[in-house]
Symmetry: C2
Subunit: 252 residues, 2 copies
Amino acid sequence: MTDQDSARRPKYQRIADELRDAIRSGDFAPGDRLPGENDLMATYEVARMTARQALSVLRTEGLAEARKGAGVFVRVFRPLRRRGIPRLAGDHWGGGRSVWSADVEDRELVVDRIEVGEAEAGARVAEALDLPPGAPVCVRSRRFVLDDKPVLLSVSYLPADLARGTRITERDTGPGGTYARLAELGRRPVRFREEIRCRMPTAEESEGLALELGTPVVLIDRTAFTEAGVAVELNEMTLDSSSYVLEYDFGA
Amino acid sequence: MTDQDSARRPKYQRIADELRDAIRSGDFAPGDRLPGENDLMATYEVARMTARQALSVLRTEGLAEARKGAGVFVRVFRPLRRRGIPRLAGDHWGGGRSVWSADVEDRELVVDRIEVGEAEAGARVAEALDLPPGAPVCVRSRRFVLDDKPVLLSVSYLPADLARGTRITERDTGPGGTYARLAELGRRPVRFREEIRCRMPTAEESEGLALELGTPVVLIDRTAFTEAGVAVELNEMTLDSSSYVLEYDFGA
DNA sequence: CAGTGGTCTAGACCACGCG
DNA sequence: GCGTGGTCTAGACCACTGC
């Protein structure tokens, strides 16, 4: 009766299917504990590794997370909405607020792992900023942590001759951030290009964003241009995909 | 000598690290065959499952793919560039071309699994189209296959009272596609909102897009609005993330 | 300290694909 | 046909968590 209909589908997949259905149907709500390895071994009369493999399917699908010594739990999602276009409107950061204040509202935002320095432009950076390869660039990297969860890694590149001697090279760039400083230099960014990619994280990204198994990252490469069409900044962002919904509004 | 520096890192991780480094450094180029399970067992003197686990790390990272009976290979990427904004400019589809011709250029595009029908709006569709829940909607679903690789699943919803009696309810919507028909009805879409999410695929998505292990999907929900601000279409798209780079250009 | 998940071994049989 | 990866078993020891 129970294994007559197995129909060539591997046991671990069938177990995963049942658990997945139970999650989707609401039998297990976000945050609930799922049956553990021992439970599955008993219920389905399978070996340890088979039960493990079933759970690993759900984890790599991003549906479940394992907590050592505690159990396996249904994952909880609470994505942030990131509005691609109005957030960069001049009247946001122009008024002394960072572009971030548009996103986070009443949640607790911490910026850490701030590093500022100078380096030689690699091929990609040089091309984006229209500089000769090896040209000096100001590099600003930082991490954004929202309610104790890291959500974004950001590395920003600017031509060094533009940034030197300004607060852009300091840890705190001042009110309105880098874009306000650029505006003061007569290089106000008015046009932007964002390129979006998505893939599984590297080990470093996984560590830096404290990612669960089965969580992709979103890469946003934003180039900022002045009215004259000169690229003044390349910002490479790495987002925890489970923490974000991106939104773009535009006319035809 | 070889395991003195193991430093608590699991064997399978150390093996995966070495292979990953070899890939990144170019010792294995895209498409190359990697050492198989038996090779790793011999080289590192580990059990089968340990070698397997090492390879599975690379696969879930999206760096390698297994071909049954053949071996494990370094994955090859050739993403399409999808320009979010100019592709929807009226002069593209207005001239009788589909919005797709902007993306694919000289590659072979096949559209299959076309289904057109009517259904009752679920909660999300009803909200997006500003209809009462359960209202009849026209549903158009299809799959785009580029050079024999499926890259996008699309399901489009329109208010049924708008679509009925037009070519929108036929398999072939005619020159310029759905948007050109809407324009003829006096409901020309002029504003768009795209919401972007990213996650691991469900089993159905994985099948429909023929995804490798370790390949996330990108979800784009696009709502089209008329000049009067009325939502006339919701298009839910599911993309193979390894096949796409999304691009958005906009001013501040 | 009892139970959990994490790692690892040493076997087995199978289906598939390439030569 | 032989080697490949895919599935599965029945054990083992460990580290961590929570009671």
